[in-house]
Each structure stands twice: as C-alpha cells, then as structure tokens.
C-alpha cells in the first residue's frame, strides 16, 4: 500500500483487516490483512512549536522508549510503554496497533466458543471462568480492554488523528463499552494515523503501575497511570486512568478531583483511590479486583507523588 486511501479501499474491497506490526493480528484468525507498514508518513515522532508531540500510528513501541525527549516529557507514557509485553514484541508492535488491538478473552480466542464478539448472542465467560474479566460492568462483554498505552494516553488528554474525520479524544475512541462486538469505535476501513499529546505541564510527574502474578511479561490484572502537578506540596492538577477492570480503559475524574487542592499524603491518596471502587460491580470471580483496583491506584499515586529521584 502506498497511501492511506489505498489501504482503506483494500479493506473495503476485500473485507480485510488493517495490520501494522501484526503482533495481535497474527495470533488470531483474522480477515485478509491489509498492511500499513509500507504506507509513508505513519511512522515517527514529531514535535510542534507549542511543545506538543505527534506520534505516527505505526511507530514501534520501542521507539517511544528510545526517544529521550518523549520519555522526559511524558513519563507516565514512557513507564507504560516499558511495561508492555516483551522487548521483541515492543520492537515490532506499534502504537496504533496497541490502541486498536482485539481483547485477550480466552473464550474469544478459543475456536470452541462463540460469543457476542463472534456473532453469538451470549458471553461464555460470564457463566464460565472469568477470573481475569472486568470488575466494572459496562455491557454484555466483560473482556477487559488490553491497551496499556491507552490508559496512559487518557491521563495526557491525548487525541487520535483518524484519516477522513475530525480528531477524537482517546475516551471517544473507545466509547462506553456497551457494544460487545467492538474493542474501539473505528470502522474496519478507518485508519488511525497518529496520536497527539498536548504539551506537558512544567515539572509534572507521572507514573504507571500494574498488578501481575509474575514479575514481567504478563497482561495486567489491574493497571493504572497517573499524572500530577504540584504547587508546593499541594496537588494542583491530576489525571488518573485505569485498565484491566472494564471493557474500555477508563479515566477516573472523581479520583483526580479528590486529589486536587490537597497535599499528597498517604491518607489523601488512599481516600481518593477508595472513590474508584464505587464503580465496581464484581462478577463472582472478580471480587478481588475491587481491593486490587484500589491498591494499584495507591501504588501508582504514591509513585507519582514521590519526588523525582
């Protein structure tokens, strides 16, 4: 493919599926792939005069980590990128692909089952083994959204450029999670071109944490990203987002608001984290994610509030 239009047309003509690095598409039965890697202009990190950044959709996740200016400007994004998958996956997997990947539900990915996402009208995970499913109920499908980068990008108020339509915020990219067949709101032939990150605030802090059983290379049970700015000891702005708990990555404005205007004491962080649990409606096997959501938020906020080493 030489242009975005070509790619979009190929998807429409063949009933195909866009493919960037392929680290998700290649692990599941996909429609005929339409490769984006050869399309010019979709790769690389650029900077605008106002200090904002533009990341091309097929920029490899490893390239985010290799960019010193980007990692300094957006520490929560850098920490998130470093936690994604494994080095050899990060070398190939792209930013756009991470945002638009399919979820990892083991029923979806097992050919023995059908579900809302594959033309069925039920969710075998609800009745079955849903140890790793959502704890915040947004709709018929309970597969947590797999994009860690989206969690970080939510805290930065990032927007995505989609070819042929107005830029949209990351929240709008995912909607409210009520449509069980969708992991995002783009149509099959819509090409995500780039992610735009507003200029960072001076001396802002960021952090990302995930809860897992193993040390590395594991999808998170719960993950959280946070961004804080301070006026002396007092939190002046805050943004907090979580993943692993709902069909979409979620911004938590109630947690952020509770932090603003107060010093980031242990008690204040815990009280703010508590607020997130009000959203939870656990399934029989996901009750543990209620305390774990709170714990991951506390861990993330504590790391974020700690003065830079």
């Amino acid at each position: 493919m030489t242009t975005i239009e070509d790619a979009a047309r190929a998807v429409r003509d063949t009933g195909g599926e866009l493919r960037a690095g392929g680290t998700d598409v290649m692990t599941r039965p996909a429609r005929p792939p339409v490769d984006l890697l050869g399309v010019p202009g979709l790769r690389g990190i650029g900077w605008q005069a106002d200090g904002s950044a533009r990341i091309g959709a097929v920029t490899a996740i490893a390239d985010l980590l290799a960019d010193d200016r980007l990692t300094a400007a957006y520490p929560a994004l850098a920490a998130t990128a470093a936690a994604v998958a494994t080095p050899q996956i990060r070398n190939v997997a792209t930013v756009g692909g991470n945002l638009l990947q399919r979820n990892r539900c083991w029923y979806l990915r097992n050919p023995a089952f059908t579900c809302h996402q594959t033309g069925g009208d039920s969710c075998p995970a609800r009745e079955g083994d849903h140890l790793y499913s959502a704890v915040i109920d947004q709709g018929p499908c309970i597969a947590p959204h797999p994009s860690s980068l989206a969690v970080a990008l939510l805290t930065y108020g990032a927007t995505v450029e989609v070819h042929g339509r107005d830029a949209l915020g990351v929240t709008d990219l995912y909607g409210d999670g009520s449509d069980p067949a969708r992991d995002h709101c783009l149509d099959a032939a819509e090409v995500l071109q780039a992610v735009r990150l507003p200029a960072p605030a001076p001396s802002e802090r960021g952090a990302y944490r995930r809860a897992t059983a193993r040390e590395m290379a594991e999808w998170p049970l719960v993950e959280a990203a946070a961004r804080l700015t301070f006026d002396g000891d007092t939190v002046s702005t805050a943004a907090v987002a979580v993943g692993g708990v709902a069909r979409t990555p979620l911004l938590l404005p109630e947690v952020a608001e509770a932090l603003v205007g107060k010093p980031a004491t242990e008690e204040a962080l815990a009280a703010a984290a508590d607020l997130a649990t009000a959203r939870c409606a656990p399934l029989p096997q996901t009750a543990y994610k209620v305390p774990l959501l709170r714990a991951t938020l506390i861990d993330t906020l504590t790391a974020c509030a700690a003065p830079a080493p």
């Binding site: 493919r19 392929g22 680290t23 290649m26 692990t27 792939p33 490769d35 890697l37 490893a62 998958a85 494994t86 080095p87 050899q88 996956i89 070398n91 190939v92 990892r104 083991w106 029923y107 990915r109 097992n110 023995a112 089952f113 075998p124 009745e127 079955g128 083994d129 140890l131 944490r209 809860a211 897992t212 059983a213 193993r214 040390e215 590395m216 290379a217 594991e218 999808w219 049970l221 543990y288 994610k289 305390p291 774990l292 714990a295 991951t296 506390i298 861990d299």
Partner: protein, 852 residues
Amino acid sequence: MEFTLNGKPVDVGVEPAETVAGVLRERVGLTGTKVACGTGVCGTCTVLVDGRTAASCLLPAGTVAGRDVTTVEGLGGDHPVQRAFAAHDALQCGYCTPGFVVEAAAFMDRWRAGHGASEPSREQIAEALAGHLCRCGAYAGIYAAVAAACAGEHDDPEDGSADGAADGGAVAPVRVEALEKITGAARYTADVVLDGQLEGVIVRSPHPHATVGEIRCEGPLAELLPPDRVVRYAGQPVAAVAAPTRAEALAIAARVEVEYTVLPAVLSPDDETVVYPTKESWQAAPRANEGPLASAKWNGNVRGPAGMSWRGRTAVKRIEKARSGGGQALVEATFTTSAQAHTCMEPHGCVARWDDGELHLHLSTQAVTRVAAQAAKRWKLGPEQVHIAAEHVGGGFGSKVNVTADVVAAVELSRLHGTPVRVVLSREEELVDGGSRPGVRVELALLADADGGLAAFTMDAHGDAGVSIGSNAAWHSRFFYGNAPRRIRDYDHITNRAPGIPFRGPGLPPMLWALEQGVDEMALRRGEDPLALRRRWDGNAKRHALYDRAADLPMWRDRTDPGDGRMRRGVGVAAANYMYFVDPGTKVSLAVEQGAVVARIAAQDIGTGSRSVIAEVVRAGLELRPGQVRVEIGNSDHAYGPTSASSCTTPSVAPAAEDAARRLRKALGGRTLDEAEGLQVVGRRPRDRRGYVTPFPLDHFAIGRGFTGAVVMTEVEVDTLLGRVRPTRVWCGVSAGHIYAPRLARNQCEGGVVQGIGYALFEQRRDDPGTGTVLTANLEDYRIPGIADTPEIDVYFHTEGWDHVPGRGVGLGEICTVAVAASIGNAVRHATGWRPLDLPVRPDLLLEGIGA
C-alpha cells in the same frame, strides 16, 4: 521476496500467510530458529531484523523484504555470548537456547556500546530477556553467562570452552553437546525433513464425552479412537490426516466430518454419568503414575482407596481422641493443588517412515527403548524392526515416555500414504493434551504426642487426573518421618478432562504441599524451630546432615520479624523424601574408532546431561582427553538403555559406562587407541551391594535401597498491597550421593527450583466449567516462570551414604523440585501470618487470605 539472511542475499517465494519463522525453517531450511509457542510469548523464534530482535513466529514474511535478517546460525558460534552460554552451562534441553542466544547477543552488543565491559545488574538482564521462556529453568546459568559476556570475560575465544575449575572439583564436564545447541545446529524431531515427507495433523473431539460414529474424509485418514469409540475429554484425538504442508493438512482436517453422539459429561462431583462404566473400560484408563498400580475398588467415578497405611486404625483412633479433646497438638487442614502442564519447549513430535516392513521413527522421547518395544508390540513387529532416533530432545518431565497420539498418527499416516509423515503438536495441543500433573485435594490430620513426637497422622488424597487413574500422592507419605502410625488413602475422582500423566516426582509435590506445611504448623504451635522439629521426627541420617547445614544458613539464622509494612519477608523450609530407582539392565557399548572411543547406548538426553555424564565417566575411566570420547545416544539400535524417568538415568548409565571403560582398559592391555581400531566391549550396570528392594525389576525399574532427600529453604518477599509473592533466595540441599557432573547437576536443581516456583505461584490449567474445554491453551494464559521470577539459588550436595551403589551416586532430577512449593507456602506463612492452602498462590488468593 529478496532479503539479506546472515549476510547473504536470498530470494524465496512466499505465500501471504507465511511467517518469517516459517520461511526460515521450511523454505530456507535454517532450523536453528525454533517455534515453540506460535504466539510471540516464548521468544524461541527470536531473530534480528535490521539489528532489532523480533518474534519471527508473528512476523508476516513480507515485512522482511529488503531487510537484514540474522538468525542464530548467523552468529557463527563465536559470539562471546555463545561461549559464555557454554561455559556457564546456560541451557539444558536447548530448545529455547537459540532464541536466548540471539536476544542475549543483541543485548550484549548494545550493552558494550553503552557501558563498556561492565557487568549489568540481574534486573537489567531480566528486562532484556523478559520475552524468553525456558521450561527447564536454566535461568541461573543464563544470568551468569550474560553477566560474564557483558563484562568481557568471554571475548577471547581461548577462554571460552570450560571453567571446570570454578566448580572446585576435578570432574566437571561441560555439556558435551552445548555448542550444537548454542549455534542452532542441534537437530530436534520438529526439525527433521525427509524426502517426500508429509505433515500430519490430528482431528480432536470438541466434546468432553461422546461416542463416535462414522468419520468421513476426502482422502486417507487414520483413526485414533479407543476400541469402544468413546471420546472422554475435549481435545481427545479422533483421527489424523496428512498433506504436503501443515496449512493444507489443517484445511483437510477442518473438512473431516465426525458423527458424535454427545453423552453427558462428568465435570463436577455432582455429575451422575459414569466415565468408565465397564470393567473393560477400567483396564483402558490411562495412568497418572509410573509403575504398577495399587489395587483399589471402583465406585462410579471414584476409585479408591488405594493405600499403604501403617497401623492405620491406631492412627485414626489417636486422632479422633485428640479431636474430641480439642488438643493443641492436632493440626488439621485441607490443601489443594492445581493441574500443572508439562509444556516442554519442544512439543511432542514424531517423524515416521516405513522402509521394507521396518519402522523408522524420529521421536521426541525420554524413552527410546521403551517406546521402541511398545511400537513393536502395537504394530506387530520384531524388536529389531523398529528404529528410533532421538538425537536431541527438547524436554520431557515425564510427558514423553510412551507411544503417544503423535506417534500413532505419524506411523499410521506414513503407512497410508507410503511416505514419511511428520506430526508435531501445536502449543495449544500441547497445553490441552500434552500432559499434566493432576490436581489433588489433600486432607491432613497430624498429631503430636505429649513430648512433641509424631503420634499419628492421616492423609486422604483426592486426585482429579481427568480420565486417568493412579494420581497417587498420599502413598509417598508412608516412607517419611519414621514409623508412627499413619492411615494413608489415595482416591481417583474421574472426570471428563484430559488425562493426567506422570510429571517429575509424580504425586510428591501435592503430598509435600500438605505434609510439609502441616509439619511447619505443628512447629509454630509448639513454638519450636521447624528444622529442630524435623530433626526430631525424621530418622534419615542424610537429611539430618542437610538440616544441620540449613540451620546454619544466614537466611535462617538471621530471619527477622516480617513486620507489618507493605513488603514483608519470610523464610520457609520444607523437606522431601523419595525412593531411589535404577534400571539394572542398562548396558553401554564402547568401540575404538579412528583413535577415539565411541560410547553407544539406547538412552536419551532430555536436557538432564546424560550424554555428558557418560562422556566424562568413560574419559576418566580410560584417562583420555575430552575430545577422545564421543557419545552416541538417542538410538534404539544401541545397547539397552533406561527410560529417563524416576531419576534413574544417571545411577543406571554411569556405572554401566564405568564398567565398560574398565572392560575396554583390560581389552586394550596397554595398547594405544590407534593400535586397537575396531575393538569393542559392552559394559553392564553392576548390581548394588545387598541388591534391591524389589526382587526383580518391575517394568525395568528396580527400587534400590535407601532414600534420596532434599531440604529446601526459600525466602520470599510478599507485596501485601498488590498481592505478589516473589521468591528472593532459595537454598536447595540435595542428598543423592556422588555428583558425576557438578555443574550440570546444579543446573538441573536450579531448574527444579524454578519449576517448583511455577507450581507454587503461577501454573494452573483452567478449563471452562460447562464443557471442560481447556482455556489456558497458550503460554500467555498458562503462566510458566520467566527469568525475572528466578531468585538467587544456592544448591548444596550432600554426597555421603550411598556406598552400596556402584559409583556411589543416584538421581536427583525429581527430589530437587518436589518440596519447593511447600517451602514457599511456609515462607508466605512466616511473612504474612496467613497459611496458603491452595495452589497456585495467585495475587487474588493472597489478598483474600491476608484480608486486604
């Protein structure tokens, strides 16, 4: 498509659906790049693309057009990392090794460019290698190798071959086949390509319980059904088909029509259907254990009790009395363990070829001799008409001791098509039907007497080995902690799930998970040091030496109050006891060929180092230089060799090799090798002094006199906020007599510790409760330990007490791993005050347990 491969331009035709791994292996024929998981998780297929590592199993072939690809073969064997892997024995079965080597080489080059010749931290190494899995658990050696290579210790080719002196022992053979494995030259069954070879795939039942009627297929099809044509678990083999490529075979398989009459399935204890309704069907039930089956009654889906009680009624009476008295000296609890998949990095695989009525198999097996005998019987051939080759085997752990479905499929398809057929299981098949350790529920009651002695215990073990029987766990407790009265009962609870099969110390890990936590609890109740209590209860002198050693460790002496902070450290200890097995029929032949001695035996090396042990024993016995001995194993035509099971390989082959060396020395009579071309001798495994416990071998195994022992001490750090348990230090003391190959033995014990950590904290086969379909059918959802989960491991060998065994050494591959989980359980109890009863200790269970 044109690209540069290992520095040379290549031009190959590719199909759109192909991956780079497929192009390298199938089109170019470079099989150093392995495919073990197929989903980018395990890193076995790692290559460099324009200098950056990538999982080639996920790379669409077209993405490397015009680019520069480097595989393990392209490193040339002289990268410092490769020398470091050989020197530090950073491998066992070797199947994951090419991927590790490529990643580590890229890391070392980056590291040197940025940091010069300095040593990276463990965490930096772990981060770099986080995308690689080694089922043998050779991570300790990998840490050491990468650190040393980065620090410049292997820059000089002259230093690279061996560091035997570092082990402090004169006898320290390196792994003799290390270079082949490190360069990608080692050929495994999955790498074999014969002329005209077809790819076979297996059609599997989607139903957990059904009778099979007609099977329709457009071409030749091999049925794989049991005689009663009943499938008893989802994923059970039904038939197999073959085609020139795997993709074509899969397409044919998808079009095979199978008539199923679905039967009600047994997936919970309440289900009323009977899985094995007739006596004939009992006989056909697969076994979860090695050796003969203890007799037991069948009652519907429950088989049992099987047991080896000792004064069982006395034990029950004492415990009932204590229970009614509410005694502090009675510890009672119910423990559970989960099904653990073997998931060897090299999946089950077989290449079958019929030639003039004789059967030739390339096979991934840990039982060349045994499988050859089984195959001869099954296909009605003479023993001399079956030829099995298993040059390199990518792990076994108990899952590759029989004629498995891959073998039957390959052999039958090869006969049908009249051409060689290769059948290699996918990772999904491997995780569904490649074997697992049964999940067990153990009910334990443990009573101390007024003086703190062991008064009695009862242990009931209820195993769910799916359709298998003989998940015996409790019976191992017969031989531990003296002769106090004990009632021991084992039950099988048969369900429509994939068969449990023997797995490294079958039955011991669940038994010890219960017993060793019970002993720990008793010590806590009594306010006694758990090592001191074990020393009183345990009469085994060899283990006493380990207790003494363990009690002196700083980890134990200096253990502190874990406190009530977020991160809490605890230390736990557990012991193990296991029988000593040997195959008394083992032989090793030696031949003088072109100035070298060639040792031949129909044994196999599944990563445990049997090849190296033989080489070193023969070399030492004849006082030769290392290069003067060559070992040819993995060939069923050679002298009789044992199955690599029950830790019997080393105590069987090493004395036979020693005997052969002795005979050759005598036959040489002072001649040099050059003067004795063609000279041949056969050595036999001499009998143990005082013979064996069993008057004659059962299925070739004899139970020898004496028990092996282990004491494992683990320090964990528990994150009480996020619920993670992280083992930080492990001391693994093993009593197995003389150690023939210290570095390899250490490696195997380190790997045993890693597997035990997986069992304790991560590994759990999970299935859909409604259909029994395995959900953990990939290495993402089935979690095995990675390098970052590996603690610092200190292995200690107590070498005395085996003078009655020729060579004075016995096996240690199982004893080193079986108590690890229990030591972690006890460490978690120390760190948090909460005792985990259920395995694995996942974050959700830990958080619930500590009341977070």
